[in-house]
C-alpha cells in the first residue's frame, strides 16, 4: 500500500513536471501577453466632418435636427441637464443643447450647454448657458460613419476604471460577482450557491463563475461547455489573479463584455453601451441605467431594452434589488430607481453610411498604414464628408435614376450588370474637401466606384477647356473674346494626312455666332473651329494646367472630349475654374489621431497651387453662367435653383455618357449617368444628369448664404449688345453684361440701334451742361 502510494506520488510529480507545468507556463504566457499588450483589436473609426454652428445658418434646411438624431441627442421638454439632451423653445426662438463630450485631437470639447438663439429659423447667436458668453467656435461633433474591422466589428470605447462611475461598478458586481474583491480566482461559496439554486430550479438559473473566469473565457476561450475548457478557464483565472490586481482585472472586464448588437457591429464595454442605448456619456448614466446595463451581461439580446422592454425592466429591477441587498443602495434609492423612466436614444436606421467614400478613405490610408493597423489600433480618422450632403446625394442619384427609368422603360433592367448607373461627387473648390461621394447606384450590388475608377469620355464637359485656351492671350498669341464671331458651319479639319468632319446635333447649324453663344449652346462645329484656330498644343497645355492628366491625345476630336477621364478628374478641373485658378487635390482624410488623441500620419493638410490666371477662369465662369441662363443648362434655373452658379452639360457622340458639371463659388458637383457596359443611353446630359445635379444642389446649398463669383482685378464687366458685341446704348433692345480682360474691353458703342452715329458715344450728342439748358449757349460752348 505504501508502495502504491509512493508510485502514485512519483507519477503525480512526474505528471506535474512534464505535463502540467509546461502547460501552465504556456497559459501564463498567453494571459500576460493579453494583459500587458493590446487587449483588443480596436477598429479604426471613420468620422464625417464636424458641423460648424455660426450665426446666419438656417437650422432646418441644413439638417441640424436630423444631425442631432443621428448623433444620438434626445429631445426633452425640461431644461437640459445632462450631455446629449436638447430642447426646442415652444416659440421657436431658441434651441438649448447640451453638447456631447468629444475628444478632438487638438482641443477636447468638454460638452457644454449652449443656447442657439433663432429668428425665423435662422441662428442669430450662440451663447454658453452657464455664463451667457457669446460663442463663435461651436460645432456639432463629427458623426461616425464606419469602422474598419478585420472579421468582427467590435465597437468599443475603452475607459479606465477611474472614469467608470461607481454606480456602474456596483451594479455589475452586485449581479455578477458580489464577492469579487474577497475571493481568489474562483469562489467556492458562489459555486455552491449556484449548485443549490440550479438544483432547486431544475435548470441553470445561476452561474458560479467569477468575473475573472468570465474575462478569461471571453478573452481566450470558446463557448463550449466542456470539462477541459472549464479547467483551462480556472487555470487562467488563477494566473490572472496571481499576477494582476483586482482593479486591473475589473477594468478589463468592464471594457470587454459584450452588451448587444447593432447590425454587424457588436457593442462591447460599458462606455460604448451607454452611448449606444442612451446616447450618453458613461459619466452621465443614472442608477437605473447603470442597473439596466449590468443586467444585459447575462444575455444581451434577451434582455435588450430595444427588443424586449419588459424583460429588460424586470432584469433591471433584479439588479437594483441585488444592489440594495449588497448595501450599495438604500431601499429608498432602489425604489426611486425602479420608477425611473429609462429613455432610450432614438435610432436612425443603422445604415452603412457613404460606403464608396469609406472605401476611398481606406485606399488613401493604405499608403500610410498596413491593414492590421487600420483594423486594430483604434485610430480615429476625421474626414471631410458632410453626412447630410451625402444623404442628399444618395437620394438625388436614387430618385434621379428611378425617374429616368420611369420615363424611359427601355432603360430599366433587373440584371445588375445591365442597370442604369450614376456617379456623383461634390467637393469644395477652395479646399478640395470631398463633401459627398456616390460611386454607384447600389453598393451592395457592386463596390465599383465610378467616381474614381470609371474612365468615360467627358464629351462636351471638356469644351470649357478649349475656350479657356482660346481666350488666353498668353505670350501675345492670337486670342478670342467672348464676343468674337465664329462660324457654326460645316467644315473639315485636316490632320496628319486625314480629315475630321465634326457635326452638330441633328445637323443643325446656326451660322455666325459669338464665342459665348457657341459655348452656351454647346455647338460642336463652332467649338471645333475654335479648337482649330487655337491649335491642339495650346489646348493640351491648358488641359494639363487645369488638371487633366496629360498629355491628352493630339487629334482633333479631342476638342469635343473624345478621350477618357474619371468624374473625379472632371470635378478637380472644374474646381480650378470655381476657385479662380487654384488647384487643390481632392482630399477625404483631414486628420488621423491615435488612441492617445495625438495626430499621426495620414491626414492631408490643405495644399494649393496657382495654376492659371484668375482673370481667365473668371471669363470662362462668366460664359458658363450663361449656359444656365440661356443655354443647354437652363433646366437648372427652370427647376428653381437660382443661386449664382455656372455649369456645362456633356453628352458623348454615341449617347453613351451623360454629364453635368457645375459649381457655385463654394461647391463643385459632377454627375455622370450611363451604363457600365457602354450601351447607348439615348439621353443628353441635360436630360439625364442635369436633374440629378439640380436636385442635389438645392439640398446641399439650402440654408447657407449665397455668394456670387468674385470679379478679380484685371477683368472689366461691360454691358454690351450681344449682336454687335459693342457697348450697349439705350436703344439696344437686348443687352448682356460681358466680361473682358481689361485690355480687351470694347470702347465703341453699338451703332445698330437708335440712330446713333457710328462710333459716337451717345453721351457726346446728348451731353449738355445742365446750367446751359434753355439759354441757347450749349452749342456755342460745345463749339468753342
Amino acid at each position: 500500500m505504501w508502495g502504491i502510494a509512493l508510485i502514485a506520488l512519483v507519477a503525480g510529480a512526474l505528471l506535474a513536471v512534464l505535463v502540467v507545468r509546461p502547460r501552465y507556463r504556456e497559459l501564463e504566457r498567453t494571459v500576460v501577453e493579453r494583459f500587458n499588450g493590446r487587449p483588443w483589436a480596436v477598429p479604426a473609426r471613420i468620422y464625417g466632418d464636424a458641423f460648424v454652428l455660426y450665426p446666419g445658418i438656417e437650422l432646418e434646411p441644413t439638417g441640424f435636427f436630423t444631425r442631432l438624431q443621428r448623433l444620438g441627442y434626445r429631445e426633452v421638454t425640461e431644461p437640459v441637464r445632462v450631455r446629449g439632451e436638447f430642447r426646442r423653445d415652444p416659440h421657436g426662438s431658441a434651441v438649448d443643447l447640451f453638447l456631447h463630450e468629444f475628444h478632438y485631437p487638438l482641443h477636447p470639447e468638454p460638452g457644454r450647454a449652449i443656447r442657439l438663439e433663432l429668428a425665423r429659423g435662422v441662428m442669430t447667436q450662440v451663447r454658453e448657458l452657464e455664463t451667457g458668453n457669446e460663442l463663435f467656435d461651436v460645432a456639432l461633433e463629427p458623426e461616425p460613419l464606419a469602422g474598419l474591422y478585420d472579421q468582427v466589428w467590435e465597437e468599443r470605447r475603452v475607459v479606465p476604471l477611474a472614469r467608470i462611475p461607481p454606480r456602474v461598478v456596483q451594479a455589475v458586481l452586485a449581479i455578477e460577482d458580489s464577492r469579487f474583491y474577497e475571493h481568489g480566482a474562483f469562489d467556492w461559496r458562489g459555486i455552491l450557491r449556484a449548485v443549490v439554486r440550479n438544483v432547486a430550479a431544475g435548470r441553470i438559473v445561476e452561474g458560479g463563475s467569477t468575473l475573472t473566469q468570465q474575462l478569461m473565457k471571453n478573452f481566450f476561450l470558446s463557448e463550449s461547455r466542456t470539462f477541459a475548457r472549464k479547467a483551462k478557464e480556472l487555470a487562467m483565472a488563477v494566473i490572472a489573479e496571481r499576477r494582476y490586481t483586482k482593479d486591473q482585472i475589473l477594468e478589463l472586464y468592464l471594457n470587454e463584455i459584450y452588451l448587444g448588437q447593432s447590425g454587424v457591429k457588436g457593442i462591447f464595454g460599458v462606455s460604448e453601451a451607454a452611448q449606444f442605448y442612451f446616447g450618453k456619456e458613461l459619466s452621465d448614466v443614472t442608477t437605473a441605467e447603470a442597473a439596466l446595463l449590468a443586467g444585459l451581461i447575462r444575455a444581451p439580446n434577451a434582455y435588450s431594452p430595444l427588443r424586449s422592454p419588459d424583460r429588460a425592466r424586470s432584469r433591471r429591477d433584479l439588479v437594483l434589488a441585488a444592489m440594495s441587498a449588497e448595501g450599495f443602495l438604500t431601499e429608498a434609492e432602489a425604489a426611486a430607481a425602479r420608477t425611473d423612466q429609462v429613455v432610450l436614444r432614438r435610432f436612425a436606421l443603422d445604415r452603412n453610411a457613404a460606403p464608396y467614400f469609406v472605401d476611398f478613405v481606406r485606399r488613401e490610408l493604405a499608403a500610410s498604414y498596413p491593414p492590421e493597423a487600420l483594423t486594430g489600433d483604434g485610430l480615429r480618422i476625421f474626414t471631410s464628408l458632410d453626412p447630410e450632403m451625402q444623404i442628399a446625394a444618395e437620394h438625388a442619384v436614387g430618385e434621379g435614376l428611378t425617374a429616368i427609368e420611369r420615363r424611359h422603360p427601355r432603360l430599366a433592367s433587373t440584371d445588375p450588370g445591365e442597370r442604369l448607373e450614376a456617379a456623383l461627387i461634390a467637393l469644395h473648390p477652395a479646399t478640395g474637401e470631398i463633401e459627398a461621394m456616390v460611386g454607384g447606384r447600389d453598393y451592395r450590388t457592386t463596390q465599383f466606384n465610378r467616381v474614381t475608377d470609371a474612365w468615360r469620355q467627358p464629351g462636351s464637359v471638356f469644351k470649357p477647356v478649349v475656350y479657356f485656351a482660346a481666350l488666353d492671350p498668353d505670350g501675345g498669341a492670337a486670342h478670342v473674346l467672348p464676343t468674337s464671331p465664329i462660324a457654326d458651319e460645316p467644315f473639315t479639319w485636316p490632320y496628319e494626312g486625314r480629315t475630321w468632319t465634326p457635326a452638330n446635333y441633328q445637323d443643325r447649324y446656326l451660322g455666325v455666332v459669338t464665342i459665348r453663344r457657341a459655348l452656351e449652346m454647346s455647338l460642336n462645329v463652332a467649338t471645333a473651329r475654335v479648337g482649330f484656330e487655337t491649335g491642339l498644343p495650346r489646348i493640351q497645355t491648358a488641359a494639363e494646367r487645369l488638371g487633366f492628366p496629360g498629355p491628352l491625345p493630339a487629334f482633333p476630336a479631342m476638342v469635343l472630349g473624345s478621350f477618357e477621364a474619371t468624374p473625379l478628374t472632371i470635378a478637380e478641373v472644374y474646381a480650378v475654374l470655381a476657385s479662380q485658378g487654384q488647384r487643390t487635390q481632392a482630399r477625404a482624410v483631414k486628420q488621423v489621431a491615435n488612441e492617445a488623441d495625438e495626430l499621426v500620419e495620414g491626414g492631408r493638410p490643405l495644399a494649393i497651387t496657382s495654376v492659371v490666371s484668375p482673370q481667365l477662369t473668371y471669363l470662362v465662369t462668366h460664359l458658363l453662367e450663361g449656359v444656365l441662363e440661356r443655354g443647354t443648362g437652363r433646366g437648372v434655373r427652370a427647376s428653381g435653383f437660382d443661386r449664382p452658379a455656372a455649369g456645362k452639360t456633356g453628352t458623348t457622340n454615341d449617347y453613351g455618357d451623360a454629364w453635368f458639371a457645375g459649381y457655385t463659388p463654394d461647391l463643385v458637383t459632377v454627375v455622370w449617368v450611363g451604363f457600365d457596359r457602354r450601351r447607348p443611353l439615348g439621353l443628353s446630359g441635360a436630360q439625364a444628369a442635369l436633374p440629378i445635379w439640380t436636385a442635389f444642389m438645392r439640398e446641399a446649398t439650402a440654408g447657407r448664404s449665397a455668394r456670387d463669383f468674385d470679379v478679380p482685378e484685371g477683368v472689366t464687366l461691360v454691358t454690351i449688345d450681344p449682336t454687335s458685341g459693342l457697348r450697349a446704348t439705350p436703344g439696344c433692345p437686348e443687352t448682356i453684361v460681358e466680361a473682358f480682360l481689361d485690355a480687351d474691353a470694347p470702347t465703341e458703342f453699338c451703332p445698330m440701334h437708335g440712330g446713333i452715329a457710328r462710333g459716337r458715344a451717345p453721351t457726346e450728342v446728348d451731353d449738355r451742361d445742365e446750367s446751359d439748358r434753355g439759354t441757347g449757349r450749349g452749342w456755342w460752348r460745345r463749339w468753342f
Binding site: 473648390p429 487654384q582 463654394d666
Partner: protein, 249 residues
C-alpha cells in the same frame, strides 16, 4: 490750322516783306482791297474747320462691376520726393490695419464671411500662442466657410511656417497676395512673411527683395525695415572673401 491761316492773313496784309507761311503762298496779283472778303471767308472757313477738330472727349468711365469690393479711397501724398523709376508710385490707402479682423464685420455682411473672419481672428491668437496645428485646423475651416476672406490664407501660411512647413506656406502666400492686391498694409505683411521664410531657408537675396517689396507698398512696415537692417548687419559682419582686399595667402 486756324492759327496758321490767321498768321498768313496778317503776313499777307503786311506786305511782301513778311515771310510767307510754309504751305499757304501769297498770290502775286492780289490787290489790297481783295484781302477783306478773302480774309472773312478764310476766317469763316477757319472757324468751321475748328468745329470739326474739337478735342477728343474723355470716354465715359465704364460702370463699376457689380461684385467688386469698393476700392479704398485714393489719397496722394502732400509732398514726396520723386520716386525712383524702378519703384512704382506708392499705392492708395496707407492705413495701419493691425487691429482685430472682427472690426471688419459690418451690418449686412454675409454670415459666412463674418464667421470666417471670426475664425481667422481666433486662429491668429492661436498662432501667437504657438498652437500652430489648432490654428491650421481652424483656418482651413474658415476657408471652407468663405474662401473669399484673404486674411485666412495669409495666417494659414503663417501657421504652416511656424509648423516648419514652408513648402505649404508659399503657395498660400501667392493666393493671399492675389486677394490682398488692394490692401497695401496686408500686402506688405505677405512680403514680410516671404522674406522671413527666405531668411530661414538661407536665401538672403530673396529675403532682401521681399522686404524691399514690402516697404515699397507700405513704407512704415517695421518688420520689413528690421529685416533689411538684419540682413545688412549680417552682410557687414561677414568675413572678407579670399582675394577681396585681404592679405595674400
Amino acid at each position: 490750322m486756324a492759327t496758321l491761316v490767321l498768321t498768313e492773313l496778317v503776313a499777307f496784309d503786311a506786305g511782301p516783306s513778311v515771310a510767307a507761311a510754309p504751305f499757304v503762298a501769297a498770290p502775286p496779283s492780289a490787290t489790297p482791297y481783295a484781302t477783306v472778303p478773302v480774309a472773312a471767308g478764310l476766317l469763316v472757313a477757319a472757324l468751321l474747320a475748328g468745329c470739326g477738330a474739337a478735342p477728343a472727349r474723355q470716354r465715359s468711365v465704364p460702370a463699376a462691376p457689380p461684385s467688386r469690393a469698393a476700392a479704398p479711397p485714393v489719397r496722394t501724398a502732400r509732398s514726396r520726393p520723386p520716386a525712383p523709376p524702378e519703384v512704382p508710385p506708392p499705392p492708395a490707402a496707407l492705413r495701419e490695419d493691425s487691429g482685430p479682423l472682427t472690426a471688419k464685420i459690418r451690418e449686412g455682411m454675409p454670415a459666412n464671411r463674418a464667421a470666417a473672419l471670426r475664425m481667422t481672428e481666433q486662429a491668429r491668437g492661436l498662432i501667437a500662442n504657438g498652437e500652430q496645428a489648432h490654428a491650421i485646423e481652424l483656418l482651413e475651416r474658415a476657408i471652407a466657410i468663405d474662401a473669399s476672406v484673404p486674411y485666412a490664407y495669409y495666417f494659414l501660411a503663417m501657421a504652416h511656417y511656424g509648423a516648419k512647413h514652408p513648402a505649404l506656406a508659399r503657395p498660400l502666400l501667392d493666393r493671399a497676395q492675389q486677394k490682398l492686391a488692394a490692401e497695401p498694409y496686408w500686402l506688405a505683411e505677405v512680403q514680410v512673411l516671404r522674406g522671413q521664410i527666405a531668411e530661414e531657408e538661407g536665401r538672403p537675396a530673396d529675403a532682401r527683395a521681399a522686404y524691399e517689396r514690402a516697404l515699397r507698398v507700405f513704407p512704415r512696415n517695421a518688420a520689413a525695415s528690421a529685416g533689411l537692417a538684419r540682413l545688412g548687419a549680417e552682410t557687414d559682419s561677414a568675413p572678407p572673401r579670399d582675394g577681396a582686399g585681404g592679405g595674400a595667402r
